[in-house]
Amino acid sequence: MNLAIRDVSYHRGRFILTSVGLGLLVGVVMSMGGIYRGLVADALSFSRAARADLWIVQQDTNGPFAAVSRIPEDIRYRIAAVPGVLEAAPLSFQTIQIDRRGKPFRFFLVGYDLGSFGGPPEIIAGRPIRRKRYELVAGEGMKLALGERLRLGLHDYTVVGITGKIVSSGGDPAAYVSLPDAQDIQFKSDNDAIRNERRRQAAGRGGAGVPSTHIVNAVVARLAPGADPGEVAARIGRWNHFRAITDEEQGRIITKGMIEKARMQLGLFRVILVVISGVIISLIIYTSTLDKIRTIATLKLIGSPSSLIVGMILQQSLMMGFIAYGIGWTMLLLTYEKFPRRIILEAFDLQVLFAIIMAICVLASFAGIRKALKVEPAEALGG
C-alpha cells in the first residue's frame, strides 16, 4: 500500500485541480521554450534555405540580414574565380508591405538569378519560376493561391509556385522573383519616380548618367568539397572591398545579435514562472502536510520509520510535478499548431524542463518534510 497514492486518491478533487493549474503554468513555460526555438528556426530559415557556405556582403557590415549591405551584382564573377569557390550567385532582399484586400500584407521578397542557386529550396505546389519576368513563387505562409496576381511596383506578378514555410529573420514569409524583377521593384518604384529622375537628369542636376540598378544585397558562394570556409572567407576579405561571412558566422550574427533580447525576455519569464510553480508546489505540500499532522503523529506512534513519512510527502510532491508536466505537455501538443508563432518542441528542452521540475518538487517538499519530522507521536492523543 502506498500512502502517497492513497492520500492523493482520497483527496483527488483537490489534487487534480491543483495539478491542472500547475500544468497550465508548466505548459506556458514549455511553450516559451518552444517559441524561442521557433524564433531561432524562423530567423535561420531563410539563410539555411539558401544553402550557402559563404555570404559576401558590403565591407564592415554584418549584412545582409542584421545590417544593410549593398554590393554590385557583377562581383559574383570575381567571387566565383576565387580558389576554393565552386559557384557564386547574387541575391537581393527587400521587405515589402502592400495593401491587399484592405489589409496590410507584409512579406520578404528575394530576387535570385534563375540560372544559379539561392532560389526557393523546394516547390510544394505549382512550378518554379521559368520566365525571366513577372513570375513569383510565394511562401506557404503568405496563403496565396496559384495563379493569383500581385501588384508590385509597376507590374503584376503571377504566383506560379508555392514554397515551404520560409520566413525572414523578422518572421515575415518569403517570396521569390527573378533578380531583374526584384531590382525593378526595388529601384523603379513607379512611373512618377522615373519621370522625376529623368527630369532631374535633363536639368543637369542628376549626377552621372542613369543610376545603376545592378545592385544586390549579398553574393552567396558554395565551396568546392574540402575547401575551408574560414580560409576562403579570409582570402576574399583581403581584397578590402567586401566582407565574406561563413554560414556559421551568419547563423551566430542572426541568433546572437538579432534575437538575443527575445531569448533573454523569454528566459526571464520562464525562470519567474518556474519559481512561481515551485512556490505553489511548496505551499500546497506544506498545507497538505499540516492537514496530515494527526495522521503523521499516528504513524509515528504506531512505530513507522521516518522514511515512510518523508517518502509519502516527497512522492506526493513528485507526483504533482509529474502530472503537471504531463498536463502541460498534452496541452501544448494539442494547441501548438494554433499558436501565431512557430513553436518547436525539442526533446532535449523537454527533458531539461522535466528534470528542473522534478528538482523543484524535491526542494518544494522540504518545508513539509521539516514540519513532518518535528511532529511528536504524542500529538496523536487527545480529542
Binding site: 500500500m1 495522521t295 499516528t298 504513524l299 504506531i302 512505530g303 513507522s304 504524542a378 492523543l381 487527545g382
Partner: protein, 228 residues
C-alpha cells in the same frame, strides 16, 4: 515476569516556577493477560503515565520496563530504537480520530502490520481476520468518515492488536462513545486480555466503565493511590 513495570516514575513538565509535576513517584506492575484501569479525574496525570509507558513521553525520573527490557531509567536508555519497540511490543488505542482518514478500515489495520515488515498479502489476511472477529467484516472497504464511533474504535482496537503486542495502552477509549458502545468496547478489551495474553492498561475518568477489571489504580494529583 511482568509485561509492564513502572518504578518511582516522576514526570515534571517545564522547569522553574512553571514546572508541573504531572506524575510523582508512581509504581505499578502489570502481568500478561491482566486488564487494569487507571482511574482519575481530568488533569490528574493519567495520560502522562500512559504515554511514559507508551514510550512517547520521556519520564524525568524512575524506571520503565517493558517485557523485561528497561527502556527508561532516569530518562530514556540510550541506544534504544523506541519506534521499533513501539511497533513490536505496544498497541495503542485512543479516544477518537486516531484512524488515518484516507485509508479504509482494512488498510488502517494493514498499515500497522506492513510497518512491522509483514508482506501485503499476509497483512491483508490478518487484518481481515481481525476485523471479522470484531464484527467489522462488512466494513472492510469503508473510510473512517463512513464508520460510526463504535466501529471506528473497533478498527483502532484491531490495529492495536495487529502485531500481537505484549502491552496494549488505551487512553479514554470510551470517551467518544455512548454508554452502550463504551461498555461493549470495555468488554471486548477484557476478552482480548485473556485470549491474547496481553497486558491491557486502560485510562479512564469514568468509574462506571471499569467493572470487571482485574485491578484499578486510582490517580490523584499525580500520585497513584492503590492497586485494588
Amino acid at each position: 515476569m511482568f509485561a509492564v513495570e513502572v518504578e518511582k516514575l516522576t514526570k515534571i513538565y517545564g522547569r522553574g516556577d512553571t514546572a508541573v509535576r504531572a506524575i510523582e513517584g508512581a509504581t505499578l506492575r502489570v502481568k500478561p493477560g491482566e486488564l487494569v484501569a487507571i482511574l482519575g479525574p481530568s488533569g490528574s496525570g493519567k495520560t502522562t503515565l500512559l504515554t511514559a509507558v507508551g514510550l512517547i513521553n520521556e519520564p524525568t525520573h524512575g524506571k520503565v520496563i517493558i517485557d523485561g527490557v528497561t527502556v527508561a531509567d532516569e530518562g530514556w536508555k540510550p541506544g534504544l530504537d523506541l519506534r521499533k519497540i513501539r511497533r513490536e511490543k505496544l498497541g495503542f488505542i485512543f479516544q477518537a480520530h486516531n484512524l488515518i482518514p484516507f485509508l479504509t478500515a482494512l488498510e488502517n489495520v494493514m498499515i500497522a502490520l506492513q510497518i512491522n515488515g509483514a508482506p501485503q498479502a499476509a497483512a491483508e489476511e490478518r487484518a481481515t481476520e481481525l476485523l471479522r472477529a470484531l464484527n467489522l467484516g462488512h466494513r472492510l472497504g469503508n473510510y473512517p468518515s463512513a464508520l460510526s464511533g463504535g466501529e471506528r474504535q473497533r478498527v483502532a482496537i484491531a490495529r492495536a492488536l495487529a502485531n500481537r503486542p505484549k502491552v496494549i495502552l488505551a487512553d479514554e477509549p470510551t470517551a467518544a462513545l455512548d454508554t452502550e458502545n463504551g461498555r461493549n468496547v470495555m468488554a471486548l478489551l477484557k476478552t482480548l486480555a485473556v485470549e491474547n495474553h496481553s497486558a491491557i492498561l486502560v485510562v479512564t475518568h469514568d468509574r462506571r466503565m471499569v467493572e470487571g477489571f482485574d485491578r484499578i489504580f486510582e490517580v490523584h494529583d499525580g500520585r497513584i493511590a492503590g492497586g485494588v
